[in-house]
């Protein structure tokens, strides 16, 4: 469980079960989320991610178990304005302008006309769409509509924002802008992100909720800096080309205890600290880079630790 004793959790879920007929979508799910860094919700299709999102937002009721959002039951009026979400595939009303709808949501959150207008403009500016204020949703592209629905989730700077597949369907530039936005706003707002793009979640999230067949496994996104000096650590390297002798060459380095080829041209290197090594020995990552340099092997990426994908699936 990833909580600090001194911080009360923003979200606390215990013994959560959800059945759809005879099918159990979630099995005894338990976790806590504290204020701070974005949290990732990952898992294969049909794992129960959207069901968990819907339960947290109060869209559906649990079969059993308990959900507490900011100390209140899910869907409680006390969470209005404090919890916002971008549900998957939810659309704005095509008959009204974006400004009109965002203002309406602001008013429902208790803002007056002026403040609602300000919030509509501010949130659209955050997602880089201030110019579409008076457009109707149908006049926008799929990606723009998605960003507008992200804007609605940011009205009033809520404490928790849940984004279900926020960057799906966005072009790389705008997906990057949304990631940047999440990174910038993290702190005052705690984001819960669901995505199939693990590299995206890896960049943003420390806490990972991994759902598989309705069962939750929790992960801390491990990087080597969190490890003690005498602990086994990992380095992931992605090469530019396939090099047949690369694994053997890596194993010739004293501290490298194991090398696994995780994907095409990607290697997971296990580092076992050697307490007898000389004080002037180069750090292990430098030694690996030196090896590449001497052999003129180009690399694409060097990750200090395991990639999220390797953490979850290897």
């Amino acid at each position: 469980m990833i909580t600090s004793a001194s911080t009360s959790p923003l979200i606390k879920v215990s013994q959560l079960n959800k059945f759809f007929g005879n099918k159990q979508a979630l099995k005894d799910v338990e976790f806590e989320i504290i204020k701070g860094q974005p949290v990732a919700l990952v898992g294969p299709n049909g794992a129960g991610k959207t069901t968990l999102f819907s339960l947290l937002c109060g869209y559906i009721q649990p079969s059993s178990g308990h959900i507490s959002i900011l100390g209140q039951p899910a869907g409680s009026a006390a969470t209005f304005g404090k919890l916002a979400a971008l549900p998957q595939d939810a659309q704005l009303d095509p008959r009204f302008s974006i400004a009109h709808q965002l203002k309406f949501y602001g008013q429902l959150q208790g803002f007056n006309n002026k403040k609602s207008q300000f919030e509509a403009e501010r949130t659209l500016e955050l997602v880089g769409l201030k110019e579409v204020l008076n457009e109707k949703p149908d006049a926008l592209s799929h990606g723009m509509r998605k960003r507008v629905t992200i804007a609605q989730a940011l009205i009033g700077t809520p404490e928790i924002v849940m984004l279900d597949e926020a960057t799906a369907g966005l072009d790389p530039l705008h997906a990057r802008e949304i990631r940047q936005l999440v990174a910038n706003l993290s702190g005052e707002t705690t984001f819960i992100l669901s995505s199939h793009d693990l590299s995206e979640l890896e960049r943003l999230c420390q806490q990972i909720l991994f759902l598989e067949h309705g069962v939750l496994r929790q992960h801390q996104n491990v990087s080597n800096e969190n490890l003690a000096q005498d602990q086994q650590s990992f380095i992931t390297i992605r090469m530019a080309k396939l090099i047949p002798e690369f694994e053997q060459s890596l194993l010739s380095i004293e501290q490298v205890s194991n090398v696994i080829k995780t994907q095409d041209k990607e290697y997971l290197i296990t580092i076992t600290p050697n307490i007898n090594s000389q004080a002037d020995t180069l750090p292990i990552d430098m030694q690996i880079l030196q090896l590449c340099h001497h052999n003129q092997w180009s690399y694409r990426q060097l990750v200090n630790g395991k990639t999220l994908e390797n953490q979850l699936f290897n």
Binding site: S54, A84, D89
Partner: protein, 277 residues
């Protein structure tokens, strides 16, 4: 400045939702077209049947025959109305407005539910507030349309005889209250259907089946079990035949629609709370 109480916040949200419904009708293209169609239909009703009938009913030669016919139908009290326009208006409005209401209020939440918009709203308003907000919005819309027709009828009477202005305003006010009470359970019924159905068309079909097959079923049941006649109180408009003559009106004639409204809104609230958004 002190924080508004929960009830104040809740009322504010209900009003915001109701206001949004009004804007949907008066400030969207589709809404404006609906109003235009409504106004045209009522122009035709007022210009042809009402205006023509008034001159016939008001003529001395026809009065006796009209009295006899209306008497047979239990409508003789209507002939005593000083403003004849409202006699015809009442007969038409009493039976057309409920049907119109079923159509006009058939999409209170279902399109928003299908589109997912209700998910955005439900993070900012309780499900009860959504139901009541939309219900009040529909009541305001139908009331405004009723006022429009009453205003037109009053103007017609005034045009015919300027002395009729004050009696026409008085009668219009009375009929406005009566007609609003009549349509309330119809709006509440569609609120109830909207709490679990996902399209306005389906709501229309279910409403048709409810009134069509429902009344047949209750009639057959009553044939076997006489107590089943009380099931007729399930149907909004059950009191219409009793009030059309405006004779021997009882308190129950107003209580029935109000109780039906309360019951259907309660059912809508229960179903909405259980339904997935």
């Amino acid at each position: 400045m002190s924080q508004p109480s929960y009830i104040q916040q809740s009322l504010f949200r209900v009003w915001a939702l109701a206001k949004f419904e009004l804007i949907r009708l008066f400030f969207t293209k589709r809404g404006m077209l609906a109003i235009l169609a409504f106004a045209t239909a009522w122009f035709l009703i007022l210009y042809y049947p009402v205006d023509s009938a008034v001159s016939i009913v008001a003529s001395d030669g026809f009065k006796d025959m009209a009295r006899e016919t209306f008497g047979l139908l239990g409508l003789s009290a209507l002939l005593k109305w000083q403003v004849s326009e409202f006699t015809l208006y009442w007969l038409i409005a009493l039976f057309t407005f409920p049907v119109f209401t079923l159509g006009a209020s058939s999409d209170q939440t279902c399109a928003d539910r299908t589109r997912g918009t209700l998910r955005f709203i439900s993070l900012r308003a309780t499900r009860n507030e959504i139901i009541f907000g939309r219900f009040i919005g529909q009541v305001l819309i139908i009331s405004l349309l009723l006022l429009l027709t009453l205003f037109a009828t009053t103007t017609m009477a005034w045009w015919r005889d300027s002395n009729l202005l004050l009696p026409a305003i008085a009668k219009a006010s009375q009929l406005f209250i009566e007609l609003v009470i009549v349509v309330l359970p119809f709006i509440a019924l569609t609120s109830f259907f909207n709490s679990f159905l996902r399209s306005a068309k389906l709501t229309g079909v279910i409403s048709l089946l409810f009134f069509g097959l429902g009344t047949i079923l209750v009639t057959l049941l009553t044939y076997k079990i006489s107590a089943a006649q009380y099931l007729n109180y399930l149907f909004p408009g059950v009191q219409l035949i009793d009030i059309v003559g405006q004779d021997r009106i009882q308190v129950s004639h107003y209580l029935i629609p109000l109780i039906q409204t309360a019951c259907y809104l309660t059912l809508a609230s229960i179903f909405m709370k259980r339904s997935a958004l």
